[in-house]
């Protein structure tokens, strides 16, 4: 039986019924990686020996009749800014090229404790700064749907790995859209949880007040499963919220009819015509399912991007100060202290990162902080308040997950403003501390390629359950068609292998 490329839910069934062992599952995925990833470059590091040990341990537990946990034997790819003890953690940067983490991130630890097998670390924009995975120091990741195109970013490696079937589950991080936009570009599901739901401990900070760790998978159910595994209070992260664990997979059943769905017109600005068309079709499906859809307005969204780049850059400039060549990471061979700082950082950090550090340093400067950082913080409060008010009337808010489908490698990297503006759709969610799911809603034909396109479903803080439920219902309506396209894509990618169609 061909295992790689199957959704997590199916693999779990096979493992728990004893039809297949965790190590066989792992080998199947490792085989796929060695075959496909030379073209995709989704992984920075494949953790073969470590993963084999994890899988063998799961098998041993199963043989002894013990439960290895809800993720028993499921391979999980982890974005390379999340620490795994004994593995590298480059954050896509040369400055951390040879650093090995001496500790596990809270999420990595939880995954292991629940029987998951950490299969590898995935490529990303350097320090999560980018929307295409092109700023990685370890080469661009290619979109499995069209190898000339980007997978989005910054969690592009995780997205491409799941899309190509090299891992059923992946962790990403989302500071301004870094889970949702690549999910949209690669035709998978990605959930950005509410700030505080998932521990950030061990996830390298880009912008601490906006960073979240979330789940990426082929289906909504799989996404819910992975979220269930990583969510929950963690005393090691002081911004982690108190709260009882939620069984998201169980809560996927339940009614969606009668839900009020808001469509902010600000999130449709700049959306391409074919994506808009798909979006309107999806709204039709939602109405058909009994939800009421209403166009409305959240005016402060218009300022979200500017405020975001001020806040995120400010925090980043401080967060990245620790990469100084003193205790770990790359250190330039020089004679003086000042040179050690400037050369280690200058050579170790990429252009985009340096640009944002300079920007952040500028906006925090004593002479500028009032005009920039403090005003941005005020805008943020305003956005938050407007969303709060909106959620008094609506249960969920929807929009496309990206204004357009995946663009070509090199197409936008020299046009930062367009790149920044394309995050307009996802950024308000981080600024307001909300949760949002990106899930495939269809395909757009583009220069001979059929390219996926995502829907964003935004929920109230800590209301992941409603967001996932709506996504799950929609997926049942449109999922089969998407799965067919996925199989066709994978057959093109690896003609010798079969792609199973499971419903």
């Amino acid at each position: 039986m061909e295992i790689w490329g199957l959704p997590a839910r199916d693999i779990l069934k096979y493992i728990s019924s004893g039809e297949i062992s965790a190590i066989e599952v792992l080998e199947s995925f490792l085989g796929a990686i060695s075959e496909i990833d030379t073209e995709i470059n989704a992984f920075i590091e494949v953790l073969e020996p470590m993963a084999r040990m994890d899988a063998s341990r799961v098998d041993a537990q199963l043989r002894e009749g013990n439960s290895p946990g809800p993720l028993a034997g499921l391979p999980v790819a982890i974005k390379d800014n999340i620490c795994v003890k004994g593995a590298g953690c480059t954050c896509g940067s040369k400055i951390l090229e040879n650093w090995i983490s001496p500790y596990d991130a809270a999420t990595a630890k939880r995954l292991r404790e629940q029987g998951a097998v950490i299969i590898g670390k995935t490529n990303m924009d350097e320090f999560a700064m980018g929307s295409s995975t092109e700023t990685s120091a370890f080469g661009v990741t290619r979109n499995p749907w069209d190898l000339e195109r980007v997978p989005g970013g910054s969690s592009g490696g995780s997205a491409a790995a799941v899309a190509a079937g090299m891992a059923p589950l992946a962790l990403g991080t989302d500071t301004g859209g870094s889970i949702r936009q690549p999910a949209s570009f690669t035709g998978i599901c990605g959930l950005k949880p509410t700030y505080g739901l998932v521990s950030r401990f061990g996830a390298t900070a880009y912008a601490s007040s906006l960073d979240t760790v979330g789940s990426m998978a082929e289906t909504v159910w799989d996404c819910a499963l992975l979220l269930e595994a990583i969510a929950g209070h963690d005393p090691l992260d002081s911004t982690s919220a108190a709260g009882e664990p939620v069984a998201y997979t169980k809560g996927l059943q339940g009614d969606v009819a009668g839900l009020r769905v808001g469509v902010p017109k600000e999130l449709l600005e700049g959306v391409s015509a074919p994506v808009k068309q798909l979006f309107h079709n999806t709204l039709g499906t939602m109405e058909h399912m009994g939800m009421t859809v209403e166009e409305m307005s959240i005016p402060s969204i218009a300022h979200a991007v500017e405020a975001y780049y001020v806040v995120a850059a400010a925090e980043a400039s401080s967060n990245l100060s620790r990469f100084d060549g003193v205790r770990f990471g790359r250190r330039a061979a020089v004679d003086t202290l000042d040179e050690m700082y400037t050369r280690s950082r200058g050579e170790g950090l990429g252009k985009e990162v340096i640009k944002r550090i300079i920007l952040g340093t500028f906006v925090l400067d004593a002479g500028n902080i009032d005009r920039y950082y403090r005003r941005a913080a005020q805008v943020r409060t305003l956005i938050k308040r407007e969303f709060e008010k909106t959620f008094e009337r609506f249960q969920v808010i929807v929009s496309p997950a990206s204004p357009d489908v995946a663009f070509k490698i090199g197409e936008k990297i020299h046009d930062p403003l367009t790149m920044y503006l394309s995050d307009l759709i996802t950024i308000p969610v981080n600024m307001a501390g909300l949760c949002a799911l990106s899930m495939p809603m269809g395909f757009v034909d583009c220069e001979g390629s059929s390219l996926p396109c995502g829907l964003q479903i935004i929920g109230k803080p800590f209301d992941e359950q409603t967001v996932l439920r709506v996504g799950h219902y929609l997926e049942q309506e449109i999922g089969l068609g998407i799965r067919k396209e996925v199989c066709a894509m994978r057959r093109k990618l690896t003609p010798v292998r079969e792609c199973e169609l499971v419903d």
């Binding site: 953690c89 951390l96 001496p102 950030r200 401990f201 090691l236 400010a314 401080s318 620790r322 202290l337």
Partner: protein, 480 residues
């Protein structure tokens, strides 16, 4: 010339809090361990590591704030102070810049009686320690960093510029140190760096309404250094001003060997640390219950103990002040009193003999070399007439040096006082026989000379004779 000028002194004092673990991780905060043994991803600033505030440190900071008569802020916040230095692991120090835990306190000094206002008390983390191979960083061949101290909790206590002489600064520091010691906030040791003092001084012509330019002085390793550095800097600035010069705003370093201040760096504009709220830490919210609990658990502070000693135990103010120089000394005295010693007698013995011995042998308060029960039983031996006060002084030293209890010492060494009349009378007779000329003088009316004969009897008995009895017997024999 100096009497035409006046100085304004403000002090910034850093104090390490006496917690078992660091401010934002649970590494040990012990002093003196081998380099880089109390470290973890958090205090090394590794990628992904996050801070977790130490509530014990918050409690001690609150206690310090109460002891310093501050207003406690129910809501305070942690900020990042951004700068690069090899012993600053994260590239920023977590401190409380915008909203400190406490503000508006004061300390009273005695001479002159004066209130020194405290602007603020805030919590922050310490940096690591750089060790340069060579004299200074510029010429060092290499430098090493020890991160054991990185993340140790500190409070910074910032005074207003209310002190107008080095002597007032010294008093303020002594008061502060004593308060924090009694509040069990810190061991406040200048020599181990658990108390560090930076001075700000400005000088102006008397009567002037304008403030002088502030210079900051660092590397002051003792109160004496503070006093000398301030005196030196005052002289220096007066010289400059008197010659029509201008004071440059700068940070100065006190050179202990040369006894001069040297410029470290000029501060033409103040450094920009790009302070902003630390997004990794929520606001520090202190409930009324928490603050009340800290208040209730506050150990007794010196003022309260002094008035107890004076009002309840009848000690002179001077004694009470000496005994409250340190909490362990006060505890020692309290133990003696609760074991039944007469307070004034115990105080005399502690102040004169015990502290004299400790001072002569450089013994700190935390190693008081005597058990209170032994001192008390020695006092009993005196009041029972078993030993004389003079012999007791020797007994005290023997107790300290051997660790033996006084009764054993007196017994084994035969130090009991001679009190029986017959033995004393025999020796008195011998002395009278030997000093006939003195006897004549006494009989002629010079009664004072009896003291000489008492001394001779004591000498002959190696101090063991009961001096009161000796005196009575002598008087009986010579004057009646």
């Amino acid at each position: 010339m100096t009497n035409q000028y006046e100085m304004m002194i403000g002090l910034e004092v850093h104090v390490e809090l006496a917690t078992a673990t660091k401010m934002f991780c649970r590494c040990s905060s012990r002093f003196g361990d081998p380099p880089n043994t109390n470290i973890c991803p958090v205090c090394l600033g590794m990628p992904g590591a996050l801070p977790q505030a130490n509530m014990e440190a918050v409690k001690l900071a609150t206690r310090a704030a109460i002891a310093l008569n501050c207003k406690i802020n129910a809501s305070s916040r942690f900020d990042r102070k951004n700068y690069f230095y090899p012993d600053l692991p994260k590239g920023y120090q977590v401190t409380q810049y915008y909203e400190p835990i406490a503000t508006d306190g004061y300390i009273l000094i005695d001479n002159p009686r004066k209130k020194i206002r405290i602007n603020r008390v805030h919590i922050e983390e310490d940096a690591g320690k750089s060790i340069h191979a060579g004299d200074e960083i510029i010429t060092a061949e290499y430098s090493l960093v020890d991160c054991n101290r990185a993340g140790v909790p500190l409070i910074e206590i910032v005074s207003e510029p209310d002190m107008s002489s080095p002597e007032e600064a010294r008093q303020y520091l002594e008061r502060l140190q004593r308060l924090l010691k009694f509040a069990r906030v810190s061991d406040v040791k200048m020599e181990e760096g658990s108390m560090r003092v930076d001075c700000n001084i400005s000088v102006r012509r008397k009567g002037s309404q304008e403030f002088g330019t502030v210079c900051e002085m660092k590397n002051l390793s003792s109160f004496r250094a503070v006093v000398r550095a301030l005196a030196y800097e005052f002289e220096r600035q007066v010289q400059v001003l008197a010659q029509g010069g201008k004071i440059v705003r700068e940070t100065k370093h006190w050179d202990e060997t040369e006894q001069v201040t040297k410029a470290l760096r000029t501060k033409e504009s103040s450094d920009d640390y790009r302070y902003f709220p630390d997004p990794d830490l929520p606001k520090l919210e202190l409930s009324r219950e928490f603050i009340e609990q800290v208040r209730r658990q506050m150990p007794k502070l010196p003022d309260e103990i002094v008035s107890y000693y004076v009002d309840e135990l009848g000690l002179p103010e001077y004694d009470a002040q000496v005994l409250t120089a340190d909490p362990l000394l006060a505890e020692f005295f309290d133990a003696c009193v609760s074991l039944g010693a007469d307070p004034k007698t115990a105080s005399n013995w502690i102040m004169v003999e015990l502290l004299g011995y400790m001072k002569a042998n450089n013994i700190p308060y935390e190693n008081i070399p005597l058990r209170p029960e032994y001192l008390v039983s020695m006092l009993e031996l005196i009041s029972e007439g078993v030993i004389s006060g003079k012999i007791a002084k020797d007994v005290l030293v023997i107790m300290i040096e051997t660790g033996q209890d006084p009764r054993t010492i007196v017994k084994e060494r035969g130090l009991e006082q001679i009190s029986d009349d017959e033995s004393i009378a025999r020796i008195v007779d011998e002395v009278i026989a030997e000093h006939s000329s003195v006897v004549e003088e006494i009989k002629a009316g010079k009664a004072k000379a009896i003291g000489f004969l008492v001394g001779q009897v004591m000498k002959r008995t190696k101090g063991k004779a009961n001096p009161a009895k000796v005196s009575t017997i002598l008087k009986d024999k010579l004057l009646s």
